[in-house]
Amino acid sequence: MLGYIIRRLLLAIPTLLGITVVTFCVINLAPGDPAELQTQGIMDSKVSIRVYEDLRQYYGLDEPVLKRYGQWLGRLARLDFGPSMSTDRRPVWDKIRERLWPTMSLALLSLGISLAVAIPIGIYSAARQNRWFDTVSSTVLYALYSIPSYVMAVPLILLVAIQWNWLPFQGMKSDDYAQLTALGKMADLVKHYTLITFCFTYGALAYYARFVRQNMLEVLRQDYVRTARAKGLTERHVIMRHGFRNALVPVMTLCGLLLPAIIGGSVILEVMFNWPGMGRLFFESMMSRDYPTIMALTFITACLVLLGTLLADLSYPLVDPRIAYD
């Protein structure tokens, strides 16, 4: 087991290196750099050129690309993402840290809700295959699964937030958040979370429910389930103990694989809801060519993806003792 983990972690190193090299090249070869964007507003061309050169030197952009990549790696080895190249010049890690929680909370919330709802639906419709509940839920889930999240989000914002004026959709907190009482703060947060969480969740929920149902149907066809029924166990016992536990393995893998997708796929939704998360930070850094922030975000997300797959693989033996790693 330990050997397996070490092997996987070692294999992750070339992957991460490859990712950082590609990202570094892509963003550095792109025309326009932060110094250029920040001096665009200066009308006097002489001043603008001087400031531009100064800024390039200040950010170290006058060094060759290879050397800068080496410096970046060196800093990374000391777990330092360096200062950001945006106008606020704060350390990248500080900028990311304040954006981490909104995105992570959203991802975890959405994962938790979708699992909590999808597993019962999946089990129930598999246990009562082709009855009315199964038919209705299958159709609804397929439709939900086919609606892209941002295509769902815009009409939802229009109806719920604007026409009916029930919920806010901009940002995470109201402007008067600081003046609210503790209870008011809670209510405010819940209100702001509702819409975006829904948009994040329903797709994964539909996908999970279909997936659980399918796996359950597969398992319920097995011989040991027939044996369990034959020896007179209650249907409830057969489904929960013999069926569900065996259908859990693929679901675990899916969790590991989908969490990064939720985080990585959040740019449009976060921009749409003006959410102070990592996806929007990425979008903003892209617009201002904030190289260190882009590198850090890509690196962190790639790490999360690798970690997710590793955890998914490691969870196999936990849920299914028949699988073991040597």
């Binding site: 070339p14 490859g18 990202t23 086919s146 892209p148 815009v154 229009l158 604007i162 399918q214 993806v305």
Partner: protein, 355 residues
């Protein structure tokens, strides 16, 4: 010596071909066929968009002569016609407004929507009416005309980007699956790198670099979305390369390239096709998303994504703008998903209903 009698070899009974079987199974799937019909409709709308929405008639009689301005536009818009195809004299002048100048008594067949997708007017953000069926946007352009002409983007993005992705994915996946060993290890590592990239991040990063237009969007989506195809192809090649007919081909001394592309690939293609179909749905989605963020198709060129952006920017004043692009994107994605499901069920009935 008597000449040996040569018995004429009996022609073997031809069994139904693989692709025929697949097609027969798809035909039987009602949802899949519905998807296929929607896709066919989208193609038709793309090809004939000038006949559906433009500000000049399809056929008309003007000052005693016959003209076909919208038909000419079909060729012009596709850039398929030879250069000399041009509209006849009064209709090619920018100041000529057919709607005003044509005599109402003369014969004329008009397109369904009598507006051009770029044609601006002073009716800003009007709700749907008999004049503008889906209303107008912030520059007074007819939304129905823009939706019709925006179909082109969604159709092209899906097919071209997945064409690129399929090329990369099949070649790399095929090489990895066929050769195995070191080649497989290197290619698998490359695939893993591309998978670990948050794809949307990468697309965004490249789109900042490239000039945002539809061609670049297609290339970038193609360059980043090939991993699924490569993995399927690799698996299929690994499965097939041990089969008897491939071994037989080896024994006959057939070259590796020929074995890979003539013997294995046709048999490996069906599952890959499923992956491509789902990939098209995804490409449509990514393009609309990019256009929404402003990195895809740029206004004034219409695309469903930037129509949705206009809608988002004027939610308070023009709620009617929201629904057309949303419904169109949803239908397109749904159609490709349904077709993909039908294909997968047709290829392997054991998989029926898996997500």
């Amino acid at each position: 010596m008597t000449e040996p009698t040569i018995t004429q070899p009996q022609a073997p009974v031809r069994s139904e071909g693989y692709w025929r079987t697949v097609w027969r199974n798809v035909r039987r799937n009602r949802r899949g066929m519905a998807g296929l019909i929607v896709i066919g409709l989208m193609l038709a709308v793309w090809i004939f968009s000038p006949l559906l929405a433009t500000n000049q008639p399809i056929v008309c009689r003007y000052e005693g002569r016959w003209y076909f301005p919208a038909v000419v536009e079909v060729f012009q818009a596709r850039r398929t016609g030879p250069q000399w195809i041009n509209k006849a004299r009064p209709f090619n002048l920018p100041q000529f407004d057919a709607k005003e100048q044509l005599d109402p008594d003369d014969f004329a067949i008009w397109p369904l929507i009598r507006w051009h997708e770029y044609e601006q007017s002073s009716d800003f953000l009007q709700p749907p009416s008999s004049r503008h069926w889906l209303g107008t946007d912030e520059l007074g352009r007819d939304v129905a005309a823009r939706m019709i002409h925006g179909t082109a983007v969604s159709v092209k993005v899906g097919f071209v980007s997945m064409g690129i992705a399929a090329l990369i994915g099949i070649v790399l996946g095929g090489l990895a699956g066929y050769w195995g060993g070191f080649v497989d290890m290197v290619i698998s590592r490359i695939i893993e790198i591309v998978i670990c990239f948050p794809v949307f991040f990468l697309i965004l990063a490249i789109m900042v670099w490239l000039e945002p237009n539809i061609l670049n969007v297609m290339i970038v989506i193609g360059l980043t979305r090939w991993t699924g195809i490569a993995r399927y192809t690799r698996g299929e090649f690994m499965r097939i390369k041990g089969q008897d007919y491939v071994v037989a081909a080896h024994c006959l001394g057939i070259g590796h390239g020929r074995i890979m592309f003539r013997h294995i690939l046709p048999n490996a293609l069906a599952p890959v096709l499923v992956s491509i179909t789902f990939g098209i749905a995804n490409a449509v989605l990514v393009e609309a998303g990019l256009s929404w963020l402003g990195f895809g198709v740029q206004s004034p060129d219409p695309s469903w994504g930037n129509i949705l952006r206009t809608a988002y920017d004027s939610l308070n004043v023009a709620p009617h703008l929201v629904y057309p692009p949303c419904i169109a994107i949803f239908l397109a994605v749904l159609a490709y998903n349904l077709l993909g499901d039908a294909l997968r069920d047709a290829i392997d009935p054991r998989l029926r209903g898996t997500t």
